[in-house]
């Protein structure tokens, strides 16, 4: 009995070791050319980007996906032994945390500077955006006129008492939205706004951005705040019920008469202890190149990083809009304060 068990164990560990070795062989063989990416983005489009990069350069992209916060802890624990060359994540707030922990190195090259507009990258060059997303108001068409929700301020208007649903403030998108307000209008204004929106909640924050849109479509509330691509995706969903829901709502790019709509990026930076720094920079440059932007634009429902690239047709249909223009690292610098304000006004 014991012997049989030991054999099974031995077999299993051998199999596992073998599979570990296979992976190692792929990557660390003498002639293998590769770059290691820790990424908090999980889109299928990204895998196509990796393939396009390998095709163009012969350099393989090895990816480790995970949540931004956990990948950060892994890079921290690995220290100078880290295998990571590049860190990629949605949301400047996530990227700023890696910068703040001293785990990025500043990189500036002509290709990056030309490829990425100034308000979509870190001022020091610690991280660079390669796609853009907008935080938009989604409302139910039969309940609200778009003019009533022309500004983020309107979400705090008492006329919408018990008519607003919101995602939890644990989410970085919410933190970044409030952080941008702190940057432009100060903490007190941000607190009053958050408290006003909180007072309009019809239910405690729960679920994802998509769930908020569905709640609005189902008549539970009149409006919510989400990233634009979640609505675009519902519009072209394979599930008829989701397309039906998307039909009942519409979106507003807020603050067009004011500071412009809050935007954020997906971006990446080179790890301070990167063993393949040149490859990492090469991949970063590739991400903002026309070639990569044209791969990602039709696949993903994010905006391209430059206005010169044609976005997906569904996005082009939404029209041009005025963007908020603040230093991107502000989203990180005010993050802790934003979290504190959310906590204080009871927006969980």
């Amino acid at each position: 009995m014991l012997n049989r068990r030991s054999f099974t164990l031995l077999g299993a560990s051998a199999a596992l070791a073998a599979c570990g070795q296979n992976n190692a062989k792929d990557g660390t063989g003498a002639d293998a050319d590769y770059v290691n990416v820790y990424t908090a983005r999980h889109y299928d489009a990204d895998r196509q980007l990796y393939a396009a990069f390998e095709e163009a350069t012969g350099v393989r992209v090895r990816a480790l996906t995970g949540s931004a916060e956990q990948l950060l802890e892994r890079i921290r624990a690995e220290g100078d032994a880290t295998e990571a060359d590049l860190f990629i994540s949605a949301d400047a707030g996530n990227l700023w945390r890696v910068k703040d922990a001293g785990l990025f190195q500043n990189v500036t090259t002509p290709a990056l500077e030309q490829g990425v507009p100034a308000h979509l990258r870190d001022p020091d060059g610690a991280f660079w955006g390669f796609t853009k997303r907008a935080r938009v108001i989604v409302y139910r068409k039969d309940a609200v006129q778009p003019a009533q929700l022309a500004s983020y301020d309107d979400l705090a208007n008492p006329r919408f008492r018990n008519q607003i649903v919101m995602r939890s403030s644990t989410n970085t998108y919410q933190l970044s939205t409030l952080a941008s307000r702190i940057e432009r209008l100060g903490a007190e204004n941000a607190r009053q706004w958050a408290a006003g929106v909180r007072a309009n909640f019809v239910r405690d924050p729960q679920g994802s951005d998509t769930d908020q849109i569905k709640a609005v479509a189902a008549g539970e509330a009149q409006a919510t705040l989400v990233n634009h691509y979640y609505l675009v995706r519902l519009m072209k969903s394979e599930d008829p019920a989701e397309r039906e829901a998307a039909n009942r709502v519409s979106l507003v790019f807020p603050d067009q008469a004011g500071a412009g709509t809050h935007i954020n990026i997906s971006g990446g930076g080179v790890i301070a202890n990167a063993k393949r720094r040149d490859r990492a920079v090469q991949f970063l440059e590739f991400l903002v190149s026309d070639a990569a932007q044209n791969v990602i634009a039709p696949l993903n429902t994010e905006f391209p990083i430059r206005p010169t690239i044609t976005p997906a047709p569904e996005l082009a249909a939404l029209g041009a809009f005025k963007e908020e223009n603040i230093p991107l690292d502000a989203l990180g610098r005010h993050q802790a304060e934003a979290a504190r304000i959310f906590e204080e006004v009871g927006w969980r």
Partner: protein, 535 residues
């Protein structure tokens, strides 16, 4: 001696009895157990040590989160845990000791919810109730409690069933002969005899609820686990997250010790050496019908409905080819991880039976990792890895090292799921057997292999099944500790779900369900046949 439960002698050991179980003998089994304990407990202990680090004061928001989280966790454990215990114990009793239509089928169907991660159930019920309008929406505290009770009762069911199946017919018949009514036999003999199993299963379900992040977060509840991630993700304060985790771990430790202490005063050794068919109660048409409806409802809400919903989504967006490799990775990792963790858990459980006092307590400490979110345990493992690297013992997390770290993470997180059932199985081992084997000259390894393991075989099978499925479902530790380009089904499902692509997440989620199905069927069949004399 058929049953010494509650007899005065067992409450106050005489010197002679105490002499039967000397303090941990220094033998191979004891050394293996000590090693196993160290391996399993280290990450959780590291979390507590990091939380206590003096240079990291807790922030003001930390105590608010802690207070609210404790209330939320307590409420969920009470509602969901009690529900899981009631459902699981009742179902186990019905299929083990009663006869009703469909009993043979329900015997294994009842285990199916085990294959569904709580967060998948949460998504499924939100999706289903949204599609049907909001009349019966599953949400909030009650929604989460419902999902935990419906999804986690199999932990109690499996452990209780193992206990019922190995019950002595003599004890039950003696009770009948002595004039006990059938109902009394259930309440005063069968249930008390199965108490260790029910308690072990219930403890697992409660710890699982405390550790759950996905479902609680989805329903917008504040629990200790969601507070951990609030501190970590929203406030960017991992050290506060560690402090809240430490509270969770210590609470689990107290819970485990109290549960053990309460049980430890009674002895459950029972059973004769002659095994016969257990007498089944024939339920009448009404009782049988109700029993079948009850079991069918458990299967329906815990597995069938969510499974159908996932199936519908997977048909809308099928992509089985893309997940073939993650599927293979998942099976390999779950099998390897389950065997590794089971071996460690086995050593710990056997040694705990033989140990006394502090030795015993420290062994149970190995199990506390089960009550913390996997991400926290992984953080503890990463911190220890960082220390070892700084000391120059190891390099970076290469593929094979990452794989080893991952298996370690599984052991640290799930050893309780092995220790609990095995310990409950061994509880029924009469001390006389061990002593006889010793008198006959059997060494510690031989007693382990030829006495302990066969006696605990049904429990071992249950533990192996639970571990396999746990690892199949496991997400956070897998995410953070795995090698490059090594995805599992849970990783793939999470990638889509976190990107709010539930259609795409359906196929890998469905495969997690299906992959758990085969071992469930095999092992429940084995469990039914494991009763000695019934082959």
């Amino acid at each position: 001696m058929a049953l010494d439960y509650g007899s005065p002698a067992s409450r106050r050991p005489t010197p002679a009895q105490a002499g039967e179980t000397p303090a941990v003998p220094v033998d191979g089994v004891a050394i293996a157990a000590t090693l196993a304990t160290l391996i399993c407990a280290a990450p959780a202990v590291a979390v507590i040590a990091l939380a206590l680090a003096p240079d990291r004061a807790g922030a003001a928001f930390g105590s608010n989160l802690l207070g609210d989280g404790a209330v939320g966790t307590f409420a969920l454990v009470m509602l969901g845990g009690v529900g899981a215990v009631l459902f699981g114990a009742a179902a186990a009793w019905l299929v083990s000791l009663a006869q009703f239509p469909g009993r043979g089928l329900f015997e294994w169907l009842l285990v199916l919810p085990l294959a569904a991660p709580s967060y998948v159930l949460a998504y499924a019920y939100t999706g289903m109730t949204w599609a049907n309008g909001s009349a019966l929406e599953v949400r909030g505290l009650w929604g989460a409690a419902f999902i935990y009770a419906a999804g986690l009762y199999p932990y109690v069911y499996l452990a209780a069933r193992a206990a019922f199946v190995s019950q002595s017919a003599c004890a039950l018949e003696a009770a009948r002969t002595l004039g006990a009514k059938p109902r009394d036999v259930v309440w005063r003999v069968a249930l008390p005899l199965a108490r260790p199993g029910i308690a072990a299963g219930g403890a697992l379900a409660c710890m699982e609820i405390a550790a759950d992040y996905g479902a609680a977060q989805h329903f917008g509840l504040t629990t200790l686990s969601t507070a951990v991630f609030r501190a970590w993700y929203a406030h960017g304060a991992p050290h506060v997250a560690l402090q809240i985790s430490a509270v969770l771990l210590l609470a689990a430790l107290v819970f485990l010790v109290v549960e053990r202490w309460a049980r430890g005063r009674a002895s459950y050794a029972g059973g004769s050496t002659r095994w016969r068919m257990l007498p089944r109660y024939e339920l009448g048409p009404l009782g049988g019908g109700l029993a079948a409806v009850f079991c069918a409802a458990l299967v329906l809400f815990g597995a069938a409905l969510p499974l159908l919903w996932l199936g519908r989504l997977a048909v809308l967006h099928p992509h089985f080819v893309e997940v073939a490799e993650p599927f293979a990775n998942s099976l390999l990792l779950s099998a390897g991880g389950a065997m590794g963790t089971l071996s460690l858990a086995c050593a710990i459980a056997v040694a705990a039976r033989r140990a006394t006092g502090i030795g015993k307590a420290s062994l149970y400490a190995a199990a506390m990792g089960y009550a913390a979110p996997g991400a926290v345990i992984a953080m503890g493992a990463l911190a220890l890895f960082g220390l070892a690297r700084e000391a120059g013992w190891i390099g970076g997390l290469s593929s094979s090292l990452a794989l080893a770290a991952l298996l370690w993470g599984y052991a640290a997180r799930f050893s309780a799921a092995g220790v609990g059932p095995i310990d409950a199985g061994l509880t029924r081992l009469s001390k006389g057997l061990d002593a006889s084997a010793r008198t006959l000259g059997a060494g510690p390894w031989r007693r382990f292999a030829e006495v302990d393991v066969p006696i605990a075989a049904p429990a071992l099978a249950a533990a192996a099944l639970i571990l396999f499925v746990e690892i199949l479902k496991e997400l956070p530790a897998t995410l953070i500790l795995r090698p490059f380009d090594f995805d599992t089904l849970a990783v793939r499902a999470h990638a889509y779900a976190s990107d709010e692509r539930l259609l795409e997440a359906a196929t890998p989620s469905l495969l997690i369900f299906l992959a758990g199905l085969l071992p469930i069927i095999l092992l429940t069949r084995g469990l039914a046949r494991s009763r000695a004399g019934q082959r």
